[in-house]
Amino acid sequence: MKAKVHVMFKEGVLDPQGKAVSHALAALGFKGVNEVRQGKYIELDLDEKNPDKARQSAEAMCKQLLANTVIETYAIEITE
C-alpha cells in the first residue's frame, strides 16, 4: 500500500512562510487569495497489504516522527 501524508500547521499556529507566499502572490498581481498555508507532503511505500493496518502504521509514524503534534496536524490517505 501507499500512504500519502499531509502535514499542516494547526489552526491558530502562525505560518510565516504561508504569509510570505501570500504576499508574493499579491505582488505578482494575483487577486482574491484570502490565505496561504504551507505544509509538507510525504509519500510512504509500505509492504503492508491491508489498508487498515497500513493506516495504523502510518498513523504511528506521524505521531512519533513525521509530525510534531504540538503545532502540526496530519492527514493520511491510503492508496493501492
Binding site: 499556529v13 510565516p16 504540538v70 503545532i71
Partner: protein, 230 residues
C-alpha cells in the same frame, strides 16, 4: 565534574562547548557519537548547537530519535544535568525532554548577533552563579528559535518559574522590540519540572573567554562545576 557532549552528524558547536567546559573543569570533556547506545557515569550531558541531520523534516527531529538519545533520556530521568543549546534545545523538545517547539523565526530570517537576556531563574545548577534579573549578553545564531507552546504549557512554565532566560533590552526590559524571533513571552530558555534539564537558544559557550569578546557565558560553566563537582 564529568561532562560529555553528544555529537550528531551536522553538530558544529560541539568543540566550542567542549573548550568552554574544559576551561571551567580542568578535566577532559568526552565527545560521544550519536550511534552509541550507552553513556558512562556523567554529571553533565550537553546536546550542542549545529544543524543535526541538516535540519531535515524539522530542526532536531532526526537527532531526537538517534540511539544515544534514549540513554540521554534515561540519565535525565535519573536527575543528571542535561544542557541543550540552540539545535540542542530543538533536539530536547523533539525528544520530549522539554515541552513546546522551536518554530521558524517570526521574520523568516537566520539571525546571528548578540542579544541581551534577563536571567529569570537562579535556583538551578546552570544559573546559580547569576543574579536574578541580571542582564547578560550571549550570541544567538538560528533560523528556528521562535518558542511556541500551547497556553496551558506556557502558564505552567511561568507559574513554576521554569523560564530560565528571556530576551530583553540592555536595561532588562522585556519588550516586543527586544524579541528577536517571535518567541512567546520572549522565552529564550526553559527548564523541565525537575530543573535538571535546560534548553536555550543563545550560546553561552561563545562568550566564555575574553578572546571571544566577553565572558558572560562563563558563570554557567563555573556554576555547573561548583554544583556538580564530585
Amino acid at each position: 565534574m564529568k561532562a560529555a557532549v553528544i555529537v550528531f552528524p551536522g553538530s558544529n558547536c560541539d568543540r566550542d562547548i567542549q573548550v568552554a567546559i574544559e576551561q571551567s573543569t580542568g578535566q577532559p570533556c568526552a565527545m560521544i557519537w550519536h550511534k552509541e547506545t550507552t553513556l558512562p557515569r556523567l554529571d553533565l550531558i550537553v546536546v550542542p548547537g549545529g544543524f543535526s541531520y541538516g535540519d531535515y523534516l524539522r530542526s532536531g527531529a532526526m537527532a531526537a530519535h538517534s540511539p544515544i538519545m534514549r540513554a540521554v533520556k534515561a540519565e535525565a530521568d535519573k536527575g543528571v544535568a542535561v544542557l541543550g543549546i540552540c539545535n540542542g534545545f530543538q533536539v530536547l523538545t523533539e525528544a520530549h525532554l522539554l515541552p513546546g517547539v522551536l518554530m521558524k523565526n517570526r521574520d523568516l530570517r537566520f539571525i546571528c548577533r548578540d542579544v541581551d537576556l534577563r536571567v529569570e531563574a537562579t535556583d538551578t545548577v546552570f544559573t546559580r552563579r547569576y543574579r536574578k534579573g541580571q542582564v547578560v549578553r550571549f550570541p544567538i545564531a538560528h533560523n528556528d528559535g521562535n518558542y511556541f507552546a500551547d497556553p496551558v504549557t506556557i502558564k505552567t512554565l511561568e507559574d513554576e518559574g521554569r523560564v530560565a532566560f528571556r530576551y530583553c533590552d540592555a536595561n532588562g526590559n522585556v519588550t516586543e522590540a527586544a524579541n528577536p524571533n517571535g518567541s512567546l513571552n520572549n522565552i529564550a530558555g526553559i527548564l523541565n519540572a525537575r530543573r535538571n534539564v535546560l534548553g536555550m537558544m543563545p550560546h553561552p559557550e561563545r562568550l566564555a573567554d575574553m578572546l571571544l569578546g566577553g565572558i558572560d557565558g562563563r558563570p554557567m560553566f563555573d556554576g555547573l562545576v561548583e554544583a556538580l563537582a564530585a
